[in-house]
Amino acid sequence: MKEYKSTNREAGVDEEDELTVKQIIDGFEKMDQWNPVSTPNLQWFQQNIELERKRIRRKQWKDLITFIFVAASVLSVVIAIVYRQPILFLYFQFVGIILLPFTFIKTRKRVSKE
């Protein structure tokens, strides 16, 4: 905790606010006393890190496999359409090009809303 008086002066806090801030700080300090925190030993942290890293690696593999599977499925459907009905493929491409500007407009709107 930084020295509150100096930060308060810097923040332009008036005397009334300063008193409220002091009450808040006192309250929090009491709360810290009533709820002492015991820090686990180093081994506990090491075990948790190893477990978390394993979980992340598993998740990354799962994501990669899902991505490859979806990509292969989409690609095989596209190849099948190109070979069997090239007109249909061109039709989808054409519709895609027409719809492209609309997706940009929608995305922009969403960002500006946020």
Partner: protein
């Protein structure tokens, strides 16, 4: 070994260095989350989640802010997300405060009414007040931590303090 060395090693995948970093900041993080959540159990749970996130994202830590500030940023955002996802019932917090009151009573210490008042105000106001007036972060830093404008932080802190003062004076009159 100082913090910078530990960070460098942790970024390279050194488990021991990362363990030491997390251990050094554990109590600081729990205490921060306790002030923000006013619930020791939720604070402990969020600390665990923050540490998991830190293990995953340590490569992205650029060293611009202190490591503890980076952890506070992660913890703050996790708490905001959690609150948005499952608006916790106020009764949870009331239970925790009751328990604390009981602990205070056991120690023959006077209860701090300001904690009741702080529990009543929205966490999006409580957080900047804690960060500004307990930890001494600047409005700009708080804005970056919470992902909001500096002006918004200023008005939240100022209005928050006013409403706390009003509530406290009403309590005193009663």
């Amino acid at each position: 070994m100082d913090e910078k060395d530990l960070i460098q090693k942790a970024k390279k995948g050194d488990t021991l260095a990362l363990s030491k970093l997390l251990q050094q900041n554990y109590s600081f993080l729990v205490k921060y989350l306790m002030k923000v959540t006013l619930h020791p159990q939720i604070a402990e749970d969020l600390t665990q989640e923050t540490m998991m996130k830190c293990i995953e994202k340590i490569q992205l830590y650029n060293g611009e802010s202190k490591f503890s500030s980076w952890l506070i940023t992660i913890a703050t955002n996790l708490y905001i997300d959690q609150q948005r996802r499952k608006k916790r019932e106020k009764s949870w917090q009331e239970q925790a405060l009751r328990k604390m009151k009981w602990q205070a009573g056991n120690r023959n210490e006077e209860w701090a009414d300001v904690l009741d008042v702080l529990a009543k105000i929205n966490e999006e106001i409580r957080m900047p007040i804690v960060l500004k007036h307990y930890y001494g972060y600047s409005y700009k830093e708080i804005g970056e931590m919470m992902g909001i404008a500096e002006g918004t932080v200023k008005s939240r802190v100022s209005n928050g303090l006013k409403s706390i003062r009003k509530e406290l004076s009403e309590n005193e009159r009663v």
